[in-house]
Each structure stands twice: as C-alpha cells, then as structure tokens.
C-alpha cells in the first residue's frame, strides 16, 4: 500500500495532524473557546479562495488569513470582555462572506469542495511540505510555552501578576490555532475541523485526571484513530468517522469513570 506516493503523503500528513490537534485542542477547549476552531476554519475559506484566485499555495494563504482573523479575535476580546462568542460570530461571518464573494464572482476556478469536505488522498508534495513546516514550528512553540499556556488557560489574572506576558502569549496561541486549522484543512475539510479539535477533548476530560494525563490520553486517542484506523479512513473516505468514534469513547469512558482522584504526579 505504501508504494504509492499519495498513500505516503496521506500517512505523514495525518500523523502530523494527529500530534498537533490534541496539543492545541486541549488548550482551546479548556479556555472555553470551543467555537474558535469553527470560526477560524470558516475564515480559512476566504484564505483558500484568495490563495486560489491569486495563485498562491492555498494552505499558506489560509494560514495567513486565519492568523490575521485570530489576532483580530484576540484584539477584540479585551474590548468585548465576557462576550467572546460575539466576536467569533462577527469574524466567522466576515470570513465566509469574503469566501462566498470570491467563489461566486468566478475568480476561483479550482474545485473548492475538496477543501470544504477534506480529501486525505489528494495531499500533494507541496501541501505536505507546508503541513510539515507549520506543524513542526507549532509543536516546538507549544513545547516551549507549555507551562505558560497551562497557567494562562487556568488563571489569566494570576499569570499576569506572576509576570507572564499574557497578551503576547495569547496572540501566539491564536496563530498556533490558525496553523492547526490550516494544516488540517486538506485532510479533514473546513466543515469538520472544529469537531476534530474539540470532541476528543470531551473524551479525555471524562477521565478527571491531571492536565498531563489528559493531554497524553488525548494524544493517544488521536494517534490510534489516525494510524491504526488509517485504512478505514481511506476505504470509507469518511471525515466524520472521527467525531462518531469520539462519541463512542465518551460513552465508554463515562461508564468507566468511577473515581475522581487523579494519578500520582511528580
């Protein structure tokens, strides 16, 4: 099976996404930004349309546009404190509006459906390079900001008093979410990305364990899903397999979850 280059591309791209999504998704959900993935993925529609219309790499143009949208969301968050959802709706509408205008004007000739619904087998070498670079930079950044991100996610005010540059880290985080959305576009499609970021966290949260364990468990869910169920993905070409299996996981974990105490952490 792996003698085909499209299969190798698909496997590498899926593996990278399977590492990046849990890392970012845990912070996104715990920050109560579950809708952020949806907003940025819909905004990426405009980025893809602009990229195709002007002849750029669509993943890269989607990243630039979603990063810009993420920074706007973060900028407006301080103005509309406690109304983050409102900002997300405004930015989502802006992105979808620009995308639809571009597509209906006829300037976007390529079939944009593959970006809407995802197509794991059509990941090209160029796409793979972009996905690889964005994923590696994002994973390294999260590694360096890991403890700071946990602290800010749990207690933004406390983190600020302790001397962390909360605003800067929040902006970097938005760019990281944008990168995650952009690298996942080709595989999962605009319409499904947000569930891929949010739903597995719901599974791992059922365990009521430490942050480290929650993240570790989430990574495992993804890794198994992408690499051991890889054949199922291709045979069914079914992007919604992920959220469905997550729902099953939630049910299993909920019945399993009797203890609330966590593992020993040292």
């Amino acid at each position: 099976m792996l003698q085909y280059s499209f299969m190798r591309n698909a496997l590498v791209a899926a593996s990278l996404v399977s590492l990046l999504c849990p890392l970012i998704g845990t912070f996104v959900v715990l920050k109560k930004y579950s809708m952020l993935g949806d907003t940025l993925s819909h905004t990426s529609f405009a980025g893809i349309a602009l990229g195709i219309a002007f002849g750029f790499n669509p993943i890269l143009s989607a990243f630039i546009f979603t990063a810009f949208a993420g920074i706007i969301i973060e900028l407006l968050r301080s103005k509309y404190e406690k109304y983050e959802e409102l900002i997300m709706v405004i930015v989502l509408t802006l992105g979808v509006g620009i995308g639809i205008t571009m597509v209906s004007s006829g300037t976007v000739s390529t079939n944009i459906d593959s970006y809407l619904f995802g197509s794991i087998l059509t990941v090209s070498k160029n796409d793979l390079y972009t996905i690889f670079v964005l994923s590696i930079i994002s994973i390294i950044t999260i590694f360096f900001l890991y403890h700071k991100l946990i602290y800010i996610t749990f207690d933004e005010e406390g983190a600020q008093v302790s001397g962390l540059n909360v605003k800067l880290i929040n902006y970097i985080f938005m760019v990281l979410v944008s990168a995650t959305v952009s690298v996942s576009l080709r595989i999962m499609g605009i319409l499904v990305i947000s569930s891929m970021i949010a739903v597995p966290v719901a599974t791992s949260l059922q365990l009521n364990k430490s942050f480290k364990y929650t993240l570790y468990f989430f990574c495992n869910i993804w890794f198994y899903r992408y690499n051991f169920r890889f054949n199922s993905f291709i045979i069914f070409k079914c992007s919604t397999w992920g959220p469905n299996s997550s729902c099953i996981n939630i049910c299993i974990n909920h019945s399993y979850n009797n203890k609330r105490d966590c593992i020993i952490y040292d």
Binding site: H147, I150, Y151, F154, N208, F211, R260, D261, C262
Partner: protein, 218 residues
Amino acid sequence: MVNLQNVCFGYTNGKPVIDNLSINIEDGAYLSVIGENGSGKSTLIKLILGFYKPSAGKISIETDRIGYVSQRIGNFNNKFPITIYELLYCHLRAIKCSDKNQILLALNMVGMESYRNKLIGNLSGGQIQRIFIAKALLGNPQLLIFDEIFTGVDEKTQIEINDILTKINKEGITILAVDHNLNNVYKNSSHILKLINGRGIIYNKETFMDKEASYASI
C-alpha cells in the same frame, strides 16, 4: 514598600473611583482596606497590581516579588483537569524559580501537603483558598495582596486562614488585604485604610478600635 502619591483613577467618563489618594505602606505592615461596595477597594488593588494605570499621580512599589490572591470561589473553572502540584509548578515556572522544594514548603505552611496530587476541583472552598495562598507564597514574596479572600468561606476556615496570614506577617512579609469582616480586620491588621468614595483615611489599630462604635455600620 508601597507608596501612592496623589493617585486618581476613573472608569470611562464616570466620576473618579480613586480620588487623589496618597498612602504609604511600610515594610512588614498588615494593611486592611475596608469600605462600602463601590468605594474603590478592588480598583485600588488593581491599580497597585498594574492592571490599570492611574490617570494622575504615581504608584511606586519597592519589590517585584508580589503574591496575589483574589476572590476565587465560584470564579474559576473547577472542572479544569489540573492537580495542585501542576498548578503550583506552573506558577513556579512563571516566576522563574527553579526550587521545587518551595512547593512542598508552601503547601506545608497552609496545611495542604497531603493534597498535592488532588485535582483542584475536588477541594472545598476553604481548601482552594489555602492552595491559592500557598501559590502566592512561592518565590519568597515581599508583598502579599489579598482581595476579599474570605467571601464564601465559613467561620472556622476563616479563623484557620487568619492564623496562617498572621504567621506569614510575623515573618516580615507585608500584607495588603481587602476585607469586609471587621473581626478579621481588628485581629490581623497593624493599619486600616477606610475608603469613602475613592478618598482614604488611614488608622492604626488602636485609634480604629477606639472608634469601633462609629464604624460598626461599615
């Protein structure tokens, strides 16, 4: 330790919340801030912490080692999957301190050492406040700021936490605390700042207790 000179602050186009306030908090003092709702207590704390910038006047703090505990109960996500140790370790990293033993020492000081591997959401309100006090104690702070930490905490736990605060203050750490409970204020404070419409009057403990009857309505 903390010096405010003619500090003024107001929210957008409203009347000033802090009006020409000048106070000096000496090293090792325990200053309690009291006043009615809307008198500017929390605004004063946020000005000192640097969340807001004064529209006039100057605030100078001699140390950058500040511990802060705010009114947490009901305010934070108690479903957050984080253990006490993880939380304190993240704080330790944030204040650029590498001595992990401080975590156990701080937990020991507030009597919560055995809870280090528990999730924060599994603790009671009083226990959570103790954990946040332990967090504020990391990195050997010179100034501790508490904003209404007894809200929602029962009488017994208040007494226990008060004992911890008195112990910390006796070790020479300056404490600035907003409190509504006059019993706590009498018991702990060396000085009391009463805020009325953004203006302040400072009393030492003795003069304040002499006027106890007249302030019973605060």
